[in-house]
């Protein structure tokens, strides 16, 4: 750890000064070998440990940044268009099998019904709703959009 006072870096486990202190059992403080400033070792204090655990949980989740591969995904297809599925390579194996069982298999045609609040596609005579995170993991053939509507050229930046 780094001393908050003088910036000296040291290993709190090897702090020899503690052994001579009569109150060192259960003490969560650790003294800097360079300047003697005492600070809290989070690994020794349950209270501070719990506090930092809670604080870590309360921090806003990081937004996942999708790789900009340039491939067209189901999330980019405007509602009303029919497209052919090319691959489901952006999904986990389990999710991929599930989507294939629902009929979203490579080579099959689907019709995009809506994109908001969630993506809805028609596979045969079934409407399937799923979140855009999944739609982003399904690649579609760029040349096979069966609609007058043009595909959005601007990409979503999230």
């Amino acid at each position: 750890m780094t001393c908050e006072m003088c910036g000296y870096r040291f290993d709190p486990a090897q702090n020899v000064a503690c052994g001579s202190c009569p109150m060192h059992r259960g003490c969560a403080l650790v003294c800097c070998p360079a300047c003697g400033y005492s600070s809290v070792d989070p690994r020794r204090s349950r209270l501070v440990g719990l506090g930092s655990w809670i604080a870590a949980r309360l921090r806003l989740p990081k937004r996942t940044i999708r790789p900009q591969t340039g491939a067209l995904t189901l999330a980019d297809v405007p509602p009303g268009s029919r497209v052919r599925i090319e691959a489901l390579d952006g999904l986990s194996t389990g999710r991929c099998h599930q989507m294939q069982a629902y009929g979203l298999a490579p080579g099959r045609w689907v019709k995009v019904v809506q994109q908001s609040p969630v993506t809805v596609v028609r596979v045969e005579h079934l409407d399937l709703a799923f979140e855009s995170a999944i739609a982003h993991g399904i690649r579609v053939e760029t040349t096979a959009i069966d609609s007058d509507k043009r595909v959005r050229t601007t990409r979503m930046t999230d």
Binding site: T93, H97, V118, V120, V123, E124, L126, L128, A129
Partner: protein, 658 residues
Amino acid sequence: MSSCHSGSGLELESRQGSIALFGHPNVGKSVLFQRLTGHYVMVSNYPGTTVELSRGAARFMADTAVVDTPGIVALPPRSEDERVALRMLLDEPVRAIVQVGDGKNLRRSLLLSVQLAEMGLPMVLALNMMDEAEARGVSVDDRLLAERLDLPVVPTVATRGTGVKSLVAEVKSAQAPRFRLLYPEAIEKGLTELASRLPESALDPRALALLWLSGDETTETWVAERVDEETLRDLASARGRAASKFREPISAVIQRVHLAYVDTLVADVVRETGDKSAGIAAGLGRLTTHRIWAWPILAAILYGTYWFVGVFGAGHLVGWIEGSLFGKIVNPWVTEWVHRLIPIGFLSDFLVGKYGLWTMGMTYALALILPIVTTFFLVFSLLEDSGYLPRLSVVTNRLFSALGLNGKAALPMALGLGCVTMATLTTRILESKRERLLAILMLSLAVPCSAQLGVVLGMLGGISLVAVLIWGGVVMGVLFSVGALAARLIPGERTALVLELPPLRLPVISNVLVKTGARLEWYLKEVIPLFLAGTALLFTLDKTGALPALIDAMKPVVSGWLGLPAAASTAFLVGFLRRDFGATGLFVMQSHGQLTPQQVVVAMVTITLFIPCVASVFMIARERGVRTAVAMMALIFPLAFLVGGVLHWTLLAIGWNG
């Protein structure tokens, strides 16, 4: 198709085992189960509502059980529910599989058919919902399909009973199909090698080997229970050898073979004469999930529900049943007869006194709660059968994502407005343990059941709209802040929503009524014993003189912190048993003019945040363990009093009193 006749009886008795219903979620398995057994199980238009295996005796066959399995999307199974279904095939003797397929979505139905047909068990394919298929211009050549798969194919419309007779006849004489698919050479080699070495099961050895090669967990557990470690290692290395020939997982290769075969099969047997689905229902269906129009539709449904349950049920119906029927006719008559038949004061008081089993317990249950719950379940069953509920999940998905859940949680939450205990059971449709825990916490903390909601709205509506808004705002505020906090603190990831949207259908009234009846029966069995127990407890406390002492003991909290009259302690005391029982007690106090508007709001907020009832605690303990149930109680009761007190002092500070 041949009709039902008794000639095949001999053949049946020679083979044993049950008849297993298999199929995708929401294709009518449960309705067919009802047709085949005469038993009623909750039939629902919400995918995944069958959460356990349901069994019933077959109407048409002596000593044979019909088993309804949870919906299965494909093999190998991926969710807890699907594993239950496969495990059943491995463990139990099955005399026939009945696959229920969706006539209009043949591709995905046949993907499962192909997998089941390879199992080598007698099998019949029921192509259900053929009426909807016809309406959409889909026709299926069932003879050709039967020939290709080597099994009987029967078109049915389970909701109307069409085709059920032919299905029964085919089930009686079902044979194991000789249908086999050819896989790439490396897999075929592996199958031949494994088939002779895997332990014997009811399934065809080749089918078991196929599941083993796919790396299915359920099969692995099953095999590991039956062979020694060395054999297990041999079996695993045989799989490894086959897998080394492919760059992708074997399960993906096998699935590709299935998908390709299904494509050629569909091309041969299905004729589409154009999609005629663009009717009113389809248009309306589209609007219910539209990003703008969905909201006015939801608001209209909520208002309709409020009017029917709140105004008609809780107002008119309760007024008539409680005020006129029970108040003027039934109760005076019962009281008179009890006094005449049992002249002992103590006993007659126990039955018809102030805390009498009949005058308090049964009157609360039958006259106050029953009408409200009946109207709610009627509306809920209507919404369920119309196919609206999955659309509600789509609309509310974003809202629930703030609580670490996805839109699927909308079903338990909406059902929780009817009965939280029942809703706790339905949380099983959620995919992860974490989501089930979060949903149960929300349900127990801040979702009032219809019985209580009726009483609350009746009391607050009598004061002012502002009173209703304060109550609603505080309860929603607690729901969202505790929910958002819990979602961060409970480790794990939120799962993304994937949900089928069945078409909007006009509900069949008889099905709605039967379903409402079944729910009410379940509810009354839960409620009446608790109401009687609560009344008996109050009676005992009253007669032994402990009640005033308890009221005194609770005084610092109830009067000091919440600012309520001491008598309100009685309501909170029985509120531990059922919060609506407690709320009803407060209702009686308000009608006697013992509570100011400010006190009513504080009391209602506090009791809404209570644990719903003892039964729901038992249900939480059953579903998630005793520790979770205790932890939830330890969190919820202090929180309810804390929020109530803070609200009391805030309202006092700003000087609000109606």
